[in-house]
Amino acid sequence: MNLSVSYYAMLREQRGLSNEAVETDAATAGDLYVELAREHGLTLKQEHMRVSINNRMVNWDEQPNDGDTVAFLPPMSGG
């Protein structure tokens, strides 16, 4: 399937871009992160992050579908 993947803040800097098209067979959002972290040397741990699919916060075991936008969200620091 083809996904659009977004990165923010420190993760965006590590990856060197804000978003990219990814072709993957990852079964879950968590598997996708593991795959991309390995490929690009991303060091942020999944347990410190959150993930959204199509602008909705989801659990790491959520399954993305073809055409979805997945965003990886580093530890937040608003306010």
Partner: protein, 138 residues
């Protein structure tokens, strides 16, 4: 309910949105950029936000919890994005309620939750030329 803005926040305009004759209390919180954090001289802050729709969805979830926990009438929140200087207003929260206790508690709940749940990230720039993305702070 949530306004993400790249330009200065206007508290007076937000306050005008919180008018209700049954309201007996308005509590507001203004978060500003301070000059020292973790003993380092801060010169500016940079806020990066995720897609507005994601931030709005998460803020709506916080607002729903607030309405469940406290007797409030209405609330508003504005959060800056982009580069801010020391002293600039970064976040504004306003809550109206019939009684002050709920307005205070709700306002406190919103800022505490927002810090670690709204998809917004803060990068501090220091006087020595370095910078750092922050995790949730106090």
């Amino acid at each position: 309910m949530l306004q993400l803005t790249n330009s200065p926040i206007d508290p007076a305009a937000l306050r005008q949105q919180l008018v209700d004759t049954s309201s007996g209390a308005l509590v507001t919180f203004e978060g500003t950029v301070r000059d020292i954090n973790n003993r380092r001289d801060v010169t500016s802050l940079e806020y990066e936000a995720a897609e507005p729709e994601l931030a709005e969805n998460e803020f709506a979830a916080i607002a729903e919890e607030v309405r469940r926990r406290f007797q409030i009438i209405d609330l508003r929140c504005a959060h800056r994005t982009g580069t801010l200087k020391v002293g600039d207003l970064a976040v504004w929260i306003g809550v109206i309620a019939e009684h002050r206790a709920d307005a205070f508690d709700a306002c406190r709940y919103i800022i505490d939750e927002l810090k670690h749940r709204l998809p917004i990230w803060k990068k501090e720039h220091y006087a020595d030329g370095t910078s750092k993305w922050l995790m949730v702070d106090g």
